[in-house]
């Protein structure tokens, strides 16, 4: 128990350090949020009029939960570049040379990134409310939806730490910054998979981010754009399992990459 408390205390020191970065250089998180707001405006008003939903319903309330999920996924960039930057500068090596738990540094990162994402989510939800989005489900369902979003963020965080440690050159971060677009858009966050060619729609609905977005739409009481398929019945379950699978795979890989860092 004592070891756990010590690890948490060490993680907290790292979390405070990461939070201080945003306090000193607030443009990074501000642009992150502004970017999501821009996506809402672009798709909600610029293109939304041309986008129809299978099963009916307005596009804006369909879009918002999708953007929530997308912004959780895009958080992977911030995590990865912060981790890659630390390893490149030698800061990670110094942490590794200290008598601290090897879990403390990634856990501290996780704490800071989750707080940042929670704040981003709050801004997006308030912004969504202002342009007419409503969560009409119960309070419990709404809270559950937020938890599922942060759960997706946590999985992306683990993946981001791993990628940051494993591919810390400039190229690695850039590759991820490009790849999140097709991976993020090939889902149900912006348009319903049922409106896509059948094979593409099948891929899109098996995207982990689709499960989270679909589950949130259900829980918020927003239109889901779903008339059938795996997400019609199992969105909630998949929104729990997909991130869990990612965490289970990448936590050991991350620990491995951290230990082998200076090979």
């Amino acid at each position: 128990m004592n070891a756990v408390a010590t690890t948490l205390r060490q993680s907290w020191v790292i979390t405070l350090r990461d939070l201080k970065h945003w306090q000193r250089e607030p443009w990074t998180p501000i642009f992150g949020i502004a970017f999501s707001v821009m996506l809402v405006l672009m798709f909600g008003f610029l293109m939304g009029g041309a986008i129809g939903l299978p099963g009916g319903g307005d596009y804006l309330p369909y879009l918002l939960p999708g953007i929530f999920a997308l912004s959780m996924m895009f958080g992977i960039e911030a995590t990865m570049s912060a981790v890659a930057n630390d390893s490149k500068k030698g800061v990670t090596d110094r942490f590794r040379s200290l008598p601290i738990s090897s879990a403390a540094v990634p856990l501290g990162r996780a704490g800071a990134d989750l707080m940042n994402s929670a704040a981003e989510l709050a801004v997006l939800m308030v912004g969504g409310f202002l342009i007419g989005w409503r969560a009409t489900g119960s309070l419990g369902a709404t809270v559950l939806a937020v938890v599922l979003l942060l759960w997706l963020r946590f999985a992306m965080l683990v993946l981001g730490v791993f990628l940051g440690l494993a591919f810390r050159g400039e190229g690695g971060v850039t590759a991820v910054q490009v790849l999140v677009w097709p991976v993020g858009f090939l889902s149900n966050v912006l348009v319903a998979p049922e409106s896509m060619p059948a094979w593409l729609g099948a891929v899109a609905q098996w995207n982990p981010i689709s499960a989270t977005a679909a589950a949130c739409r259900e829980l918020f009481g927003n239109p889901t754009g779903i008339t059938g398929g795996v997400l019609a019945d199992h969105a909630l379950l998949l929104a729990v399992l997909w991130p869990a699978a990612l965490v289970l795979v990448f936590v050991p890989l991350t620990a491995h990459a951290y230990r082998r860092l200076s090979r």
Binding site: T6, Q10, V13, I14, L16, R17, K20, H21, R24, E25, K89, G90, V91, D93, R94, F95, R96, S97, L98, P99, I100, A104, L261, S262, R263
Partner: protein
């Protein structure tokens, strides 16, 4: 027998086709400054990373402060401070905040970490810069802060990996002063360097390494002695007879420099110098200048490493980080 700060025996570490460490042995004595001297790619950083538990070696044994790096890495980490090749600081945090953060990670309370940070900032002349972002620091200031961060827990052994690489002469002097202060306080230091004058200035003992192997070891004096003896250089006054001067001294004249070189015999430089002065006196010959020249470490270094040319494919130092 007291526990040595560091004992390494038979280390071997392979990166692909390159042996970064090859049958590498090292002993560091308590309270000393030990320099690992070698060219880029000699394996210095690899050795330090193995000692600091950051890298595992393929073969061999290392004990740091009596702890096996493989079996008791946590105990080793608690006993050492590592100052890596690149200033491993948080650029966005203030200088003082960096030290407090590392202090907190070492388990100090907030107040104790702050107190220790202030103390170190004072020691390294950084008090005025304590509340500035590290990104505004000069190279020398960064290095000093970096070294201070390695000293928070008063380690038994401090690793300094190329502490002055890339610094201008003034900053280098600042870092040298900082290192001397650490040594005066009783900390044992293992430093790596590719600068001979740095090893000469700071180190009690020097291990010369090349291509992962120990090429020579000893004090600076001992190493210099290995490449040959001292020489007495006598400069003739203008219009003086250089040949006569050479004959009197029993040395070799160089008309261009108007200088006679006398190789010191087994008696060493001092007796050769005395003998030269006596000979000049007895013959009634004037000299414009007379000096005793010992071989520089540069000569030693080139002499020692020339026998072991580095493999062409060797990885540049730092590529493994």
């Amino acid at each position: 027998m007291p526990v040595l700060p560091l004992v390494a025996h038979g280390l071997r570490k392979r990166y692909g086709d390159t042996l970064a460490l090859d049958e590498f042995d090292l002993e560091v004595l308590p309270g000393s400054v030990h320099a690992l001297l070698g060219p880029n790619g000699a394996g210095k950083s690899t050795a330090v990373n193995v000692f600091a538990t950051l890298t595992r070696c393929d073969e061999g044994e290392v004990h740091v402060a009596g702890h096996d790096v493989r079996r008791e890495p946590a105990a080793v980490r608690a006993a050492v401070g590592l100052v890596g090749q690149h200033a491993a600081l948080d650029e966005v945090l203030f200088g003082g905040e960096n030290l407090v953060m590392f202090g907190r990670l070492y388990g100090l309370s907030k107040a104790a970490a702050r107190e220790r940070a202030d103390e170190l900032l004072r020691t390294f002349g950084l008090s005025d810069a304590a509340d500035r972002k590290v990104s505004t620091y000069s190279g020398g200031m960064r290095r000093r802060l970096d070294i201070a961060a390695g000293l928070i827990r008063r380690p038994a052994l401090l690793f300094l990996d190329e502490p002055t690489t890339g610094l201008d002469p003034r900053a280098r002097n600042e870092v040298w002063q900082a290192v001397r202060r650490i040594v005066d306080a009783g900390t044992t230091v293992l430093l790596t360097t590719q600068y001979l004058d740095e090893a000469d200035q700071l180190a009690d003992r020097i291990t010369v390494m090349d291509a992962g192997r120990v090429v020579a070891e000893g004090t600076a004096q001992e190493l210099k002695r290995r490449v040959g003896g001292d020489r007495v250089l006598v400069t003739a006054p203008a219009h003086a007879d250089l040949d006569r001067l050479a004959a009197v001294l029993g040395g070799v004249g160089d008309p261009e420099l108007r200088q006679v070189t006398v190789e010191a015999g087994p008696g060493g430089g001092a007796s050769a110098l005395t003998a030269a002065v006596r000979a000049l006196d007895a013959a009634g010959v004037e000299a414009e200048d007379i000096l005793l020249r010992r071989p520089t470490l540069d000569e030693v270094f080139l002499h020692l490493t020339a026998a072991h040319p580095a493999p062409v494919s060797s990885r540049p130092e730092g590529a493994h980080r």
